[in-house]
């Protein structure tokens, strides 16, 4: 049986700490180890930052975080009423290029959250919001193909 908890925050940079604290508290209670909590916390921070800075730079948007704890994974769903955008389709930056040669260091936020969790998915909710789902397994496993291929990440 899964457990869920929710937090609603304003889409602004002042809310980042609240988002991080929410992830830390919920995932540690669920038993996620410290390193994996740190990775998920960073992933959520980057996803929320992306909404604040690119989806709703004018302000006034709301972000809802939902934690779902399952025996084998922690799932965070991030719903927002900012501009519709699927960040999972964003191309990765070319890491072979030295940071010193880059004119701008952009694109790392999405790269970070895509690479720090085990699964990401995106959908537009029936009421027209973005919903990004990040799944972090409780432990490293080799059963991804068998164990998670059919997991429904789309939430409600």
């Amino acid at each position: 049986m899964s457990r869920t908890q929710q937090l609603e925050i304003a889409a602004d940079l002042d809310s980042l700490k609240q988002a991080r604290d929410f992830v830390k508290e919920t995932t540690q209670l669920a038993g996620l180890d410290e390193n994996r909590t740190g990775e998920l916390l960073l992933a959520v921070d980057e996803a929320v930052t992306n909404i604040v800075m690119h989806g709703c730079p004018q302000g006034g948007c709301t972000i809802q975080l939902e934690f779902e704890g399952e025996p084998d994974a922690c799932i965070i769903r991030i719903r927002d009423n900012a501009r519709l955008f699927d960040p999972t389709t964003k191309l990765d930056p070319d890491l072979a290029i030295s940071p010193l040669e880059r004119e701008t260091p952009g694109g790392f936020g999405v790269y970070l959250f895509k690479h720090l969790v085990d699964q990401t998915s995106y959908r537009t909710t029936p009421d027209g919001r973005n919903e990004l789902t990040l799944l972090k397994r409780m432990a490293e496993t080799n059963i991804s193909a068998a164990g998670f291929a059919d997991r429904e990440l789309d939430g409600e």
Binding site: K17, R20, D21, E46, V52, L95, P99, F108, G109, L112
Partner: protein, 122 residues
């Protein structure tokens, strides 16, 4: 977890003078500009060897990458007459190293475990 970043800048005498920027706290989009500003001030005051002490960083996000990128590009021409200045990282915390490694930045900056070794690298 505090949401602030405390920044201390001091000078160390190695083989050459090295300016150490010591960070404690959260390096995110709320705080990265302050870090950049302090590092730029040091460079403008003549620092051309910069050591960023990241041992006290409780949290670092992609804003930290942006700041390190900006400072690294600025220090490139910070030496006398526009010569190349140098920048290295000291003792990154687990939170800082997570970001550096994930995006491969740890291989572009010199990363040192202790101050004496770091000072010798300049």
């Amino acid at each position: 977890m505090d949401s602030n970043l405390r920044i201390a800048v001091f000078n160390e005498k190695g083989i050459v003078p090295v300016t150490v920027v010591h960070l404690t706290g959260v390096l995110d989009w709320k705080t990265h500009q302050n870090f950049e500003d302090k590092a730029f001030e040091a460079i403008a005051a003549g620092a051309d060897n910069l050591l960023i002490d990241m041992g006290g960083v409780d949290f670092m996000g992609s804003a930290g990458i942006r700041a390190l990128h900006a400072i690294a590009r600025r220090i490139r021409t910070a030496g006398p007459g526009g010569a190349t200045g140098r920048m290295a990282l000291l003792n990154p915390s687990e939170a800082a190293m997570r970001v550096l490694k994930t995006v491969g930045l740890d291989s572009y900056f010199g990363v040192h475990d202790n101050l004496a070794e770091a000072l010798k690298s300049f």
